[in-house]
């Protein structure tokens, strides 16, 4: 039992060093760079971090939340959980904490298969500009939530292309008709997306200024034309994995 405990402690120390090493890589790229903390936290504009007597809770809070009113941003959503833990551990070592706590990184989200991973890239592929899915859909933290969250993933590429969009209606204002997605049509104002072209334009109008009618000539098939069938299949695989 005692031997086991010692082994564990050693293993933890080793793991902590690995984590801190990873943290150093994150630090070099994210914190040391630019006008910020400099190599090994000795300052390059932003405050020095090395040898300041910071404890790990403090470091974790600042890295995660940032400091309002200063140039220190919050990294809570910017870094992966694993990188966050690692960089906090590394900054702890700069402050004399030899064996920082290194909570085992929790993997976030499902592990994606080859095709689904490819689909994930295609979904938000910057090379496609406004022709990518993420122009209108937010999935797993990426993309613009113009459309409502995806609830059902089409079973096949054919079904994907034939997707019905009954919530897209026709708006008419000043003699012009356009496909629209209505967000709210209240007493105070009317808020809707104009889907005439990509990217969709969110517009606000006086109540009654835009007349809405059901049905539209707009088709989902016409905005996924940047992808071929194999790519659409990969995107479906991604959506099935991500929305499980």
């Amino acid at each position: 039992m005692k031997v086991l405990a010692i082994l564990c402690a050693l293993a933890l120390a080793c793991a902590a060093q690995d984590v801190a090493k990873r943290g150093e890589q994150v630090f070099v790229k994210t914190c040391a760079t630019g006008y910020c903390h400099g190599v090994r936290g000795v300052s390059s504009g932003a405050p020095r971090l090395a040898g300041r007597g910071f404890n790990q809770t403090y470091i974790n809070n600042v890295v995660t939340r940032g400091i309002t009113g200063t140039g220190m941003p919050s990294f809570g959503e910017r870094l992966s959980k694993a990188d966050l833990v690692a960089v906090v551990a590394y900054v702890a070592t700069l402050n004399g904490i030899a064996n920082p706590d290194s909570v085992a990184p929790v993997s976030s989200g499902p592990v994606l298969s080859g095709e689904a991973a490819h689909g994930a890239k295609l979904f938000s592929d910057a090379v496609r500009g406004f022709g990518r899915c993420s122009t209108c859909h937010e999935v797993a933290g990426f993309g613009i939530s113009v459309a409502a969250p995806i609830e059902q993933v089409p079973a096949t590429v054919a079904a994907f292309k034939a997707l019905a969009t009954p919530n897209v209606r026709t708006g008419t204002t000043a003699g012009e008709s356009m496909p629209v997605l209505v967000l709210s049509d209240r007493m105070q104002s009317t808020l809707f997306y104009d889907l005439t072209s990509t990217p969709p334009v969110q517009r606000e109008a006086e109540p009654g200024a835009v007349k809405f009618s059901d049905g539209s000539t707009w088709r989902h098939a016409s905005v996924i034309g940047d992808y071929n069938d194999a790519e659409l299949a990969a995107i479906l695989a991604y959506l099935r994995a991500a929305l499980k």
Partner: protein, 559 residues
Amino acid sequence: MIGRMRFWPILLFSISSALAQDAGATHADWPHYGGTQLSWRYSALDQINTSNVKALTPAWLFQTGDYAENLQATPIVQDGVMYLITARARVFALDAATGREIWKYTYPEPARSVPGFVGNRGVAIGDGKVFFGTKDNYLVAIDQKTGHLVWRVNIDDPRQCGCNITAAPLVAKDKVIVGGTGGDGAHRGYITAFSTQNGRLAWRWYVIPGPGEKGHETWKGDSWRFGGGAPWLTGSYDPALDLVYWGTGNAAADFYDADRVPAGADKSKDINLYTASVVALETDTGKLRWHYQEIHDDLWDWDSAYEVLLMDREIHGRMRQVLVHMNKSGITSVLDRGTGELLKVFSVPEVQTWISGITEDGKLVRRNEPQIGKTTTVCPTAAGAKSWNSMAYSPRTGFLYIPVNELCEDITPNDAPADEGQNYMNGAFPVKLAPGRSTYSHVDAWDPVSGKRVWSMPYKYVLLASMLATAGDLVFTGNPEGEFFALDARSGNKLWSYQTGAGNRGGSSTYAVNGRQYIATSTGWHVSVVGGALLALFPDQDWRLGSTLVVFALPEGSR
């Protein structure tokens, strides 16, 4: 055929006749970020002038209440109404004579935190709307009379691109055109134009050419996808030539080029087009007419994103349609704005070690390049011989008015791979004071035709506020200690100053209401990015933050 062609130059000359001497001057209004679309930051108003500026006194001030960062915006004025925006996109319409609030629009705080710096350098007006960019990367149009939302459109997902909008948009014809940040990240920069009327996309021009496009051969492998170049400031527009001019950002990774230059047999390809360039785009289509690259294969974070001044000047006895543009290194190019031909080039900082010089045809001599495994000291710095704050130009003196900083840095590059939307500077570069000096900045007057400095007014610390020139032969700017001051445009002598109470790191403008001339300036230091890095160089200083607009005029009855 040949005979007919000979007539063309004459015809072209008569069609696109020279600009009037004060074409770039503002009058009662200050309608654009750079004053007019020619970006001179110069006003024809001369009620306040060298003989009476001593009497200049605050008329009113406006506290925005948004102290999240600071106030950087250049105030826009039309028909006696001022439009002002804060760092977190609170937009105000104010009575420009009294500061009374007419309406206020508060852009909703993004639900999730978004990457990128928080700051906003101004709104644009046109087509009855006020346009501005946001930190979550939307271009927004609100009604100029009511402040109500008209439309908004997302430019790109900031969580993916690591980019957003801090610049004022440019309105040209029926389009509102905007550049974005992200030049120091793994991102492919672009300029996007939308219909002022309904926000629909008009065009997007990518700084880095894609596969099959000319210039693509200047990028290694897939590096074009993340090669930076983000044009993060505001361009200019020549209505006669119908061309939009913009400066593009540095190549990324900033301090390390092995992953982005082709490095084949043909060394002339190792230039990373169209980063660190001035480009002329057709207003209706976004099509590239010409480009001029100021820094081939940039390795020092030498953005060319800064303002583009359009003017006509006589050069070698011939009236030329020129543009003047400064790169972050301080290299300043005078180009024929019809063709992109280089007519003159000069460098403004006194301390310059990244090159030993520049030839008349714009070639950099003995580049002192950062190298992996070494630390290289260069001057000036990635904070800029000048930062994003604009210079000004007076047609009365013919001089450019430029704030210049004298700093150095130790660049230690690394070879980290690109990670989409994440920082891709690949280097640490602690900034330090240039050695052997007691002053670290100066306001200069430069003649763009001769390329010579006419006068220089030294300042102890650094200068990071925009310049304003007027027909009263005055040049205004502010310093980090809070002093807003006026110099004689012909001599550089300081004629007036006022302690505004907080560091100056924004833009100024001048306008008139009911015959009274006002001078307005944004105040409040900031500690993110350049402002913070440079404050750290002066440990005894504590330049004050804030977010207050201060407006000056001559006392009533003294005019």
